[in-house]
Symmetry: D2
């Protein structure tokens, strides 16, 4: 997963992008990068505040930025990437995947093209370059229309900043007015935190061009067919973000409520697995009347510390600690948003048992993840998805819970519908992939 940002006509573009990426940091902590006017760049592995330091400040009023959680591509290939073309220099950062990337790379290379990286981003630049137009804007539109992709993208050119979403609108993208210019960001919360006005969700299948002395121009390059990633709502986005005008925290609460309605599972306390399970646990608590409690404490200072014991158990124990005083002697229902490989949940259940609970139940406010994501979420290969290999009984046994419940696929879909979210992608839950 990734977070992207773009600015046009703002003071100290570098600092503004820094602040936007800081608010998008939850979307990727592996690397950060910025390109500012003149296509000067600062990039590095690690968190925004370690990479985009004030010592590396680049002056300028336009630019794009990127934070990344490794998916495909090697770690040292840090976006944005920049190239020189006949149509001017261009720099691109994207969030998502090109579905037929291998084919397209091959096609380009067969025509003699070379690739500096293994990133899908570079394919977009090649298409921009080979587009049968002299005009860079038309070339970009052509490139976007030719690529079967699931992405949001920001593009910096000498003459414009462009922000686009694929026709399915799988990944989010927003822009807002800031000072005399504009900011683009993956989530609206980043725009609100900076005090933007007129915050707008970019429509699937459109590209917005920001140029000097003109309002943003919206150009449709593909028919809209909404299949927004529902996992953004469930797990990825910040609770104070909104997609389709619907608040993420509220959707998670609704999923938690639905989970209660489907199973009516009783317990003494509802304990969220921090931080991802909090909203769902609140919904479950409100629907069921079972008090929510603080039974697991997360250490927010643990980042990418390499000294720490490498076995997963020790890592989990240093990140999450059980609050024995709260758990002891209780029937405890742990709520989390999802289970991918299952190893972390198994360790949490173990830790909670050691705290002396009477029973431990696990409630997941989404359906079992049975398929990989082809659109930019690193949910590992299918063989590692525990729910794709095991039935519920075996899963329950593996994680060690006295009971394990999931939300049904139907229930899940209903919640989104009732919340008013337009078409969503549920591929990882129902194997029904849009492209």
């Amino acid at each position: 997963m990734c977070g992207i940002a773009g600015v046009w006509n703002v003071d100290e573009a570098y600092n503004v992008i820094h602040d936007v990426l800081l608010t998008l940091q939850h979307r990727g902590q592996q690397s950060a990068g910025v390109v500012v006017n003149g296509f000067k760049s600062v990039k590095g592995e690690g968190l925004v505040e370690n990479v985009l330091t004030s010592e590396r400040y680049i002056p300028g009023t336009k630019g794009i930025g990127h934070v990344r959680y490794s998916t495909y591509g090697s770690l040292d290939e840090i976006q944005p990437i920049t190239a020189h073309t006949l149509k001017g220099r261009i720099s691109v950062a994207h969030n998502g995947n090109i579905v037929d990337a291998d084919e397209k790379r091959r096609f380009i290379m067969e025509s003699g093209g070379i690739f500096a990286t293994t990133l899908d981003t570079e394919i977009i630049i090649h298409y921009f370059s080979i587009a049968p137009y002299a005009n860079p804007r038309e070339s970009l539109q052509w490139a976007l229309s030719r690529i079967k992709a699931a992405y949001s993208i920001v593009v910096l050119h000498d003459t414009f900043l462009a922000a686009a979403r694929d026709s399915f609108g799988i990944r989010p993208l927003f822009y807002g007015k800031f000072q005399e210019g504009y900011i683009v960001a993956s989530e609206d919360v980043a725009l609100r935190v900076l005090g933007c006005e007129e915050i707008t969700e970019i429509e699937p299948g459109t590209v917005v061009f920001f140029t000097d002395n003109k309002p943003p121009e919206i150009v449709r390059f593909a028919k809209r067919d909404d299949r927004f990633c529902s996992f953004e709502f469930v797990y990825f986005a910040r609770p104070d973000s909104n997609f389709y005008g619907v608040n993420v925290h509220e959707v998670r609460k609704a999923l938690g409520r639905k989970l209660y309605e489907e199973h009516k599972l009783q317990a003494d306390i509802v304990v969220p697995v921090l931080d991802s399970g909090f909203s769902g646990a609140l919904g479950y608590s409100q629907a069921s009347g079972i008090p929510i409690e603080y039974g697991l404490i997360r250490n927010h200072y643990i980042g990418r510390s390499f000294i720490m014991p490498k076995n997963r158990q020790d890592i989990v124990r240093r990140k999450l600690a059980a609050l024995n005083a709260v758990l002891e002697g209780k029937e405890v229902l742990l709520i989390d948003d999802s289970i991918v490989r299952g190893t972390t949940m198994k360790l949490i259940v173990e830790m909670v048992k050691e705290a002396g609970v009477k029973k431990v139940y696990v409630g997941i406010h989404s359906p079992p993840v049975v398929g990989p994501c082809n659109y930019g979420i690193d949910t590992s290969r299918r063989s590692e998805l525990i729910a794709s290999q095991n039935d519920l009984e075996k899963l329950q046994e593996y994680v060690g819970a006295d009971k394990l419940v999931y939300l049904s696929v139907e229930g899940y879909r209903e919640v989104f519908e009732s919340c008013g979210v337009r078409g969503i992608c549920m591929g990882c839950f129902d194997l029904n992939y849009p492209v």
Copy 2:
């Protein structure tokens, strides 16, 4: 405030201290330091994972460590500090203050002594050196008994590790068995996270000596007179820590409950100011039946980023964001543990109002802070304590709340008594200081 750690006879002392300090990181993020056998040290400004990196690993099985939130002393004076004396080399890290430090420094300097730092720690070393004993252990006991202090301390000598608390036991200190040796830490959670056994709270007025081939020896050097810092329970410690066998989260909940009992203030939702107000808010919610809600989101990736706008308002807005979908149109009761200077709460109230609430109330689950702390918490000088300069009405006006309520001093004391916590220090609330 500070966190301290010590280890004796463990594999890879450096790494173990690293892990202990990581769990104590909430006690200080300004600097970190470690001294390992042979008195080699690694020190630096910043977080544990940035300072105590694996590249700087020092082999050894014994050592002490320190994390610091600036109080007195300049930032580059990072503990532990080490000195050569006639009685051997000695390294010291402490948490707290020497009350008559200025007098004692002057006395030492008048005798011709010199100080390499401005740290109170160095006074302890001087007293160790001038103690009328040839034996280092007796010298340390003598030094501890002569110093009017409010501190916990770890001392590394060629022949022992010592861990001591002053007679009032103002700052916490624990030890536990680990492998064939021992670990000492400011909070018991750090020992539990590492899997220690036989975790023991060090008694006020005693020093524990860890030496080879012997169980820990406990020596009393002063009469016990418990005045444990109640602010450790209210704000400083992790919720999953315990002092006097009493859980911090449970005390905070009890304070929240008491706050409701004293004021019966009603609202549509109770919203904790994250992360410090969560436990109290939960107590308030449970006592009142008003649902707890997630109305403020904290960005945990914001550390000590220096690029960020320097005005306090922008910093608060990047750290905490209002969740409009939750707050809009509601009567909201914000719960926090305390108000020191008042500026942050004023900005939070402003932000909550902008989210479109009907009313905003503020509940503080401790009494007004009217005096500074002389024992190691950096609660600023009296003139900056907003509650020491203003009555409740003016305070309420300043923070901009429709109503502001505090817990009474009596109510506060009762909660601790009912929880079974022995004598506490409430100096910052009632100006009744122990020393």
Copy 3:
């Protein structure tokens, strides 16, 4: 100017390249880079020992490396550069320039190609990629034969290491046997220092392929037409390097001797401008019988210190100091290899005068530099070449010498002929450029 290195089948390729580049460091101090098997790279600005540190070690037995003194291209574009092509991954480092680079870039871009950098190196990769051959070796040969260039080059492919010189052989390149494999380097001294055997100068117009289980294969791709850069002898190479089997120091001495023969200029002492003028001064001293003296001391610890006063005068004074005890009251003849912009010599003359000399003469053991170098030496644009804008009298006045003498173009050519050096390029002296 640049230095290049390549290794094939050696233990710890990274370390061997490090050591080769260290001996080639005089060819470029601005940046250093290495690519090792699997196309992992380490690159950075600064000296070899600061960039290619042991912490960044990459395992492997094959690789190429580069040190650079900025010519064209921005500083952050550090060689070697790597690309993915249909014919495999390829990494290239070169020393020199492509003469018609702008045309060739344009041609590639008009065919839809994109460039990740502004380096000429990337053009070679594009030609490799578009070559009408499936075979990577044939493709490289085709690319080399198509490019009008003045360069030496090393190329790493999954299946071979290649080392080539253009048809004029403007830049040097050597290889030698090392352990079970081979090392390639810009100067033979780097191979001798490492203990290589069978050191061979690569012939202009040929490429040498190093592959597994075979001796090096030499392939001619262009007709040889020797125009070796005479400035390599005069200034750039180490004195203990040899080209065409002729020692650099001996050529410089011969130039110094010739300078005496042409002018018979007398003085009390001959003082070399360190380090570049030493060999020439020795030749002058030997031919004239005037004693050589140590009248200017160079501080070798001054590298790229940015604190130092930015005006040129202060920089020169910190780098070179006059030895008053030697200079005072003497007629002094300063010997240097060349004058480019003239500013440094002016400051040196000033400094020498302040030391109380009776007379100061300047002897340059090469002709006036009247044209820029188009083949990789950064001798600035023509307008900055002081000798291209002024006659000898004005030059003498500008540098402030009592007399200024140059070697004649004819005398210069004769020295090379008599030393047995095959065809040389003297473009910067006689504007007669080979391509």
Copy 4:
């Protein structure tokens, strides 16, 4: 060995000290440190330009600095060191040793004093602190008069900068006028390079105080008894430095001449071992008429590279390369200033032989080093001094030369006398130590 610097009332003290230390860098490359007004410091291992970077700039107009070549003390104890005393803060940097340091440390510790470091410098601070005077200047004078030492020292106090030399004047120290203030430095060349005026050599047994609004005050604290380290002339100082008004390069040349006069050893060429043997070789060449030649090339880019092969032979070969074209077939006389352990010379002789010389002779323009230096030069323990364990015949055999000649002790002394250098220390040559 070390280099020290001090400044009083200059603009940008940090930068000026940086520049002075850069010129003194040959006196120590292991660490560098600076303390500027307010006693803020920057310290680190490595070269001046890596440690005292512009990012670490500290504003101020007064300060002291230090560069160090390890002698006693661990590497992380980097000077200057600072302490708080009753008489104010004080910071000290010194070059040399306290002869009875162990006794004095013990005495201080027996009185209850503690030491933060193992440096002799701290003893001086203790004596300053215990001095029976309230006045800091009188206290410093008392401390200097009580300490049997061989040192030069700079001291920064809130109210003055002091610069002193012990009664023997073993280590050099100078000051000069700069802008409205003063600079102190170990060698006069550093003052000349910066453009100082009225450069003055501090008299042995005196301390110079620099204070505001007054000319420097010179106070004698001990009787002068000149025993200046003759090794400063032979090896340590820069050739363009002067002591007692006598130029270092000229003394070295005189030593080279004397070496010829004593032995009349003939050869085809005289080859200096760079850089230390150059001046002596020039003297030998001038006296003998044998031409000086450039037969060994030094790579100045090799600093403290840790990747390089750790065996001494490889290191020497990468630092020094034989110039075969010059050496082949010749009778070669290598000239160096001294032989300490003998291992490097052995490797050089080997290398020169491999270049195909007819004969290789070695001439050393100082007597055999038979005793260690107790005054700050790190000439290793006596057992490692090859000349203290072997007669000349065995030495010659060990280094592998066809002939090895040294200057006689008498001849050595005569040269200094005839040059007009006052009393010198020759302890390492004749075991006649001054203290």
